[in-house]
């Protein structure tokens, strides 16, 4: 073989290899393109410890359903809601997304959500009676169902077992005995709040406010407080029960000096460091705590500080985009059904499932901490969910902060919050009436 023919053969061989590679790549691309018939975007805010189990569920769904491809995108809840709204307004909202129960009315008013009533039985095979009623109702409005509740995020009490044992707050068997009512709570607080070196500064706190908004919502309802009237036209934040709850909390800080002035969420770090004996927090904190091996903690129902037991709850709701059509609609329905069917796997990461049949399962009962949180299901209340909820939150937080810092009386702080909230309420209904008038004028013109 001459040099030139060798060279030629080499070029031919090279060309064949390149062609084969190209064919292979083309084939692979085609087969990948052929496989999933439908691709759905699934957005949520599970960026904490809850992100991994959700990612796992998505992977399993993709594996079990080769004709559907779910692409999950996570971002923190604050950024998430802004992006979701902007995407919705721009007509680019994801096909499936998660929102909190308290946000449902706002999304309904913005016309972002697809009612699911026609899908529940036919496409999803779901029975509404199999869901925890408050969670189910939280995802509905005006007789229509706008989402499927995935879980019930309940608030409970976390307590440090070692500190309880050291303070001698134990039962007959020597096990730590978490308080159940105001009297026991105060007794525990006095024993657990310690100034070990006598310098006037506490070295250990019996209780801290880790999230003043959520903590106060719970206590206000326990004291018989209400937030809005039945028609959602009048804010009742300055009602007698709410004032009493806020006064009780203020006195705990400034008169009894048993609780530090609330600062920020870092107070939760105090519990994790072992410097705080009790905190009221959501079940979503469980997954992280369970990984912390040097903290001997327990969970219990929130003690009844006021006249009635009550705890705060919310739900993650699976929602669909308003304009979804087949085949995306069918695929999204299948995915929503899959998520609710597998909500015990989701619960294992620190949630209570919203399906009653799963709540009664042996597997859920074996999840000790989650089952303890679920003991409070009889007296949970869902957080206020008016379309003007964010404005209410702003006023609520400011009033609570001023009262707990003792720079304003609870009554005065709550009165001002009501006056400001009412402005937002009026603006909301004025605009709502304008919209109704505009649409009726339009239809009469037609």
């Amino acid at each position: 073989m001459t040099g030139s023919s060798k060279f030629l053969m080499g070029r031919v061989r090279g060309a064949v290899v390149v062609a084969a590679l190209c064919m292979g790549l083309l084939g692979a691309a085609c087969s990948r393109q052929d496989r999933p018939e439908v691709t759905l975007r699934f957005w949520n805010g599970f960026t904490g410890p809850d992100g991994r189990p959700m990612q796992q569920l998505v992977k399993e769904f993709n594996r079990e359903n080769p004709d559907i491809r779910i692409i999950m995108q996570r971002m923190d809840w604050y950024t998430y809601y802004n992006k979701l709204f902007v995407a919705g307004i721009g007509g680019r909202a994801p096909e499936v997304f998660i929102i909190h129960a308290s946000n449902i009315p706002r999304f309904i008013h913005a016309d972002f959500l697809r009612p699911m009533d026609d899908l529940l039985e036919k496409e999803m095979g779901l029975d509404p009676k199999d869901f925890f009623p408050q969670a189910w109702n939280a995802a509905g409005d005006g007789g229509k169902q706008y989402g499927i509740p995935l879980d019930i995020s309940i608030h409970g009490m976390y307590y440090n077992k070692s500190l309880f044992r050291a303070a001698g707050i134990v039962d007959a068997t020597g096990e730590p005995r978490p308080p159940r009512n105001q009297k026991e709570f105060m007794e525990a607080l006095r024993k657990l709040t310690l100034d070990r070196d006598g310098d006037g500064d506490m070295d250990q706190w019996g209780f801290v406010f880790t999230n003043t908004r959520n903590n106060l919502l719970v206590l206000m309802v326990q004291f018989g407080g209400m937030f809005f009237d039945r028609d959602n036209r009048q804010c009742l934040l300055n009602s007698e029960g709410n004032v009493r709850a806020l006064t009780w909390c203020r006195d705990l800080i400034h008169r009894e000096k048993l609780v530090p002035s609330p600062e920020n969420f870092i107070a939760w770090l105090g519990f994790r460091q072992g410097n705080v004996a009790m905190a009221f927090e959501g079940i979503y904190m469980l997954a992280d705590l369970q990984k912390q091996t040097d903290l001997d903690f327990g969970v219990a129902p929130i003690p009844t500080i006021g006249e009635q037991p009550a705890t705060l709850a919310s739900s993650h709701i699976v929602c669909l985009r308003r304009d979804l059509k087949n085949p995306e609609l069918q695929a999204a329905s299948r995915f929503a059904r899959f998520l609710t069917d597998r909500s015990l796997d989701w619960a294992a990461a620190g949630q209570v499932p919203a399906r009653l049949s799963l709540l009664q399962s042996d597997r859920f009962r074996s999840m000790e901490a989650q089952a303890t949180f679920a003991q409070q299901l009889d007296h949970v209340f869902y957080e206020p969910n008016q379309p003007f909820n964010n404005q209410f939150d702003t006023e609520f937080n400011e009033a609570v902060e001023k009262a707990l810092r003792n720079s304003e009386t609870p009554q005065a702080a709550l009165d001002r919050a009501v006056a400001n909230t009412q402005r937002a309420v009026r603006r909301h209904y004025d605009l709502w009436d304008q919209a109704k008038n505009a649409s009726s004028e339009k239809s009469s013109g037609l």
Binding site: N82, V208, G270, N275, E401, R405, H428, W432, A435, A438
Partner: protein, 292 residues
């Protein structure tokens, strides 16, 4: 031929800047003008009500709102504390680093610049923990010598704490720019001054500061603009508390537009903020020009 060449030369500049101009118009100018138009409308993003032209209504509401003025005052406090501190400390650091030679200078330059590479979320969360009164890092050490500072719980301390954190985070950039400015000054000026018997302080006052005036003007103006736009630090560390003492204007705008979804009102406040920044920048330029 000559005419064609001349014409080409005349317009060739536009061809070079065209890609930038397109991007500038699409992503900056259009949203800016859209925002300006929006500020004259009542548009609540979540409301099904039609958008309504209300003239100066949003501006009127802002100028008569207690919250707007509280947050403007909080912003002004931040600007007044942060800008002189940043420029002053950065100048001192730049002059100090300039006296160090070789690799050690590079080490110091990098050390001061590094915190600025952290995102505000990371830096903010870190400092939230550092500052916590009961369970934070700073008080854990300070308590050993009998001191406890209410970093974030006192209305008089909270903004100072935000300024300290901002200095740690932002000082590097200003230091590097001022150092570059100092290194541009010819050594012969100092040699001449030294021969005339000028000491270090006189050299600083009569050579370094006047020679660095353009750089100082640049750093001061950009710092004032940046300080007026402060948001991340206060939003992450204090959320505007305690008692609104750190609720700055950008946070109030953010809450109005993206939590309460009042886009028209939010846009109007953005333009008021723009007016404040423009006003102070022009004053700054004029003051520096007069001195020159």
């Amino acid at each position: 031929m000559n005419t064609r060449q001349n014409q080409f030369q005349r317009y060739s500049g536009w061809i070079f800047v065209l890609p930038f101009l397109i991007l500038f118009a699409a992503f900056l100018l259009t949203p800016l003008l859209y925002g300006l138009a929006l500020s004259f409308f009542n548009w609540e993003m979540l409301s099904p009500a039609p958008t309504q032209f209300i003239g100066w209504g949003n501006f009127h509401e802002a100028l008569h709102s207690d919250r707007f003025w509280t947050s403007t005052l909080a912003t002004a406090r931040f600007v007044l504390m942060a800008t002189p501190a940043t420029v002053g400390i950065a100048l001192a650091l730049a002059l100090g680093i300039n006296t160090i030679q070789g690799r050690r200078q590079a080490f110091y330059r990098a050390s001061y610049f590094l915190p600025g590479l952290l995102s505000i979320s990371v830096a903010g969360l870190l400092w939230t923990w550092f500052y916590n009164g009961e369970f934070g890092l700073f008080n854990a050490y300070l308590e050993k010598v009998g001191i406890k500072i209410p970093w974030l719980t006192s209305t008089s301390w909270a903004m100072k704490s935000i300024v300290i954190m901002s200095l740690w985070w932002c000082l590097g950039g200003a230091t590097i720019i001022l150092l570059a400015g100092r290194q541009q000054i010819s050594q012969s000026l100092y040699e001449a001054a030294s021969m005339d018997g000028a000491g270090a302080l006189r050299s600083l006052w009569h050579i370094t500061i006047p020679q660095m005036r353009p750089v100082l003007l640049f750093v001061t103006v950009t710092n004032i603009i940046g300080s007026f736009q402060v948001f991340g630090q206060t939003y992450i560390i204090t959320r505007g508390g305690p008692e609104d003492s750190t609720r700055v204007l950008v946070q109030y705008i953010y809450e109005t537009a993206f939590l309460h979804y009042r886009m028209g009102y939010g846009s109007a406040m953005c333009w008021l903020l723009f007016a404040f920044i423009a006003f102070f920048s022009v004053i700054q330029f004029m003051a520096m020009k007069e001195r020159r």
